[in-house]
Amino acid sequence: MMIDKVIVPNSLRARPGEATIDLRLPWYRTLPLSTVEVEAVKVDGAPIDADRLTFDLNGQSWNVSDMRGLTGENWFVTDIATLHIAGLQLQQGTTHDVEVLVNLYPPYILGMRRAVRWTRSMEAN
């Protein structure tokens, strides 16, 4: 199944001025990023504002609010994306619950939305 694979295990990293996690596309085929929405992220229950979230893929970075326009940017099904959470300073070795809600809008099923919400407890490394 994919829902529990959306947050890559052991991917929480504490870096100066930010934290990052790795994401996998929770779908069976490549999707354009315009059909992928990072709706919500929470760390230890605290919601993170979208303007602090940057999505890295294919050597590029975007704020999550700007992904809707990325019709020409594909997330290949086996590739890993990185989500940066600006302003989240974690201590290495501490454990945190990271929750994401990723919506997928498969472009071949009109009106369909797949909601993938998952929480993973990870040690910041």
Partner: protein, 335 residues
């Protein structure tokens, strides 16, 4: 019903979609996945999903095509179908124009031909107008275009009827249908119910969905009815959307409906979820479907399509093996 059994020639096969977990979880690369299908005798037919297996899709590089040809030669598998996609709403603010959709499909059909696939599975979101414009290309490249009839569509739904009428008018042997057995299910698969329970979704939410699923009403209305119930009753919205997939993945229609389309059936998606110790799938009545397709004179492949990978990490190869064993038994009985 006229018995056309003497005309039937049904070959089994596998779509790599069934092995989504093995691929997604990086247990097998694409080529090794194909080799394993061959090694385990899960052919002879091989179907792949362009946007799953091929990074550059809808384009295919010469290198990929050459490697793929060598791989098929090595394994002895037979190419049955390339699944292509309509992708009408890549831009969520406006659907593709007809010209854009024609071009988008053209690329994929050309890739199907380049790879040697005799059939391309397309989806209803393409529209009859687009597919009509692609019929000459299909004929030129000798790639049959098959509309997959997937839940919640029935053969009588206006979306499907539009294609049937266009097919009749155009009269091309390169335009056909691909039944997906999930569109003639008898029950929601147990593995999905187990999954929802594992997700902590209430029995009330699950049971209400099942009741609506079994109600006699237009299938497309069921999902909206369920989501209205969940909203009116203050249910968690994300959980509701999760459960609502049952209305898109499996639906009911009389199995005999497939006979109406049999002369134009170019491929089959043998959707299944779990073949049990009695050799049956609780959600799809294979014991009735296989004899129906034999009697209907179907000539082509059935791709074993295990979709339970959405809700479990069970071994896909094992699932397909059991499916093939069941199909072989039923084919032998129907002969």
């Amino acid at each position: 019903m006229t018995d056309l059994s003497s005309k039937a020639e049904i070959k089994l096969g596998t779509t790599l979609y069934s092995l989504t977990n093995e691929f997604h979880q990086l247990k097998y690369g694409f080529e090794d996945l194909v080799r394993e299908v061959a090694k385990r005798g899960l052919g002879p037919g091989l179907e792949i999903v362009g946007f799953q297996s091929i990074r550059t899709f809808p384009s295919v590089t010469d290198e990929f095509a050459d490697n793929f040809a060598a791989l098929i030669d090595e394994t002895g598998l037979e190419l049955s179908c390339l699944s292509i996609n309509a992708d009408a709403t890549i831009n969520r603010d406006r659907p593709m124009t007809m010209a854009e959709s024609v071009a988008y499909h053209e690329q994929q059909i050309c890739s199907a031909a380049k790879l040697g696939f005799p059939v391309a599975r397309f989806q209803y979101a393409a529209s009859p107008e687009v597919i009509e414009r692609l019929a000459p290309l299909a004929e030129k490249l000798e790639v049959k275009l098959g509309l997959e009839i997937h839940a919640p569509h029935s053969i009588h739904h206006p979306d499907v009827v539009g294609y049937r009428e266009m097919y009749e008018r155009v009269g091309s042997p390169y335009l056909g249908f691909i039944p997906d057995f999930g569109a003639s299910s008898r029950a929601v698969p147990k593995c999905y119910i187990d999954y929802f329970k594992w997700r902590g979704i209430s029995d009330e939410m699950i049971q209400t969905a099942l009741e609506i699923w079994h109600e006699d009403m237009e299938p497309f209305v069921r999902r909206a009815k369920y989501l209205k119930w969940t909203a009116d009753n203050g249910k968690d919205e994300v959980a509701a959307v999760e459960v609502a997939v049952v209305f898109n993945l499996f639906s009911r229609q009389p199995l005999e409906n497939w006979l109406e389309l049999m002369p134009q059936t170019v491929h089959v998606h043998g959707k299944f979820f779990a073949v049990d110790e009695n050799g049956e799938d609780n959600s799809i009545d294979y014991a009735s479907i296989i004899p129906l397709f034999v009697c209907g004179g179907y000539r082509g492949y059935i791709s074993s399509e295990w979709e339970g990978h959405q809700v479990s990490d069970d071994d896909g190869f094992e699932k397909i093996f059991r499916h093939h064993e069941m199909e072989k038994r039923l084919l032998a009985q129907a002969a």
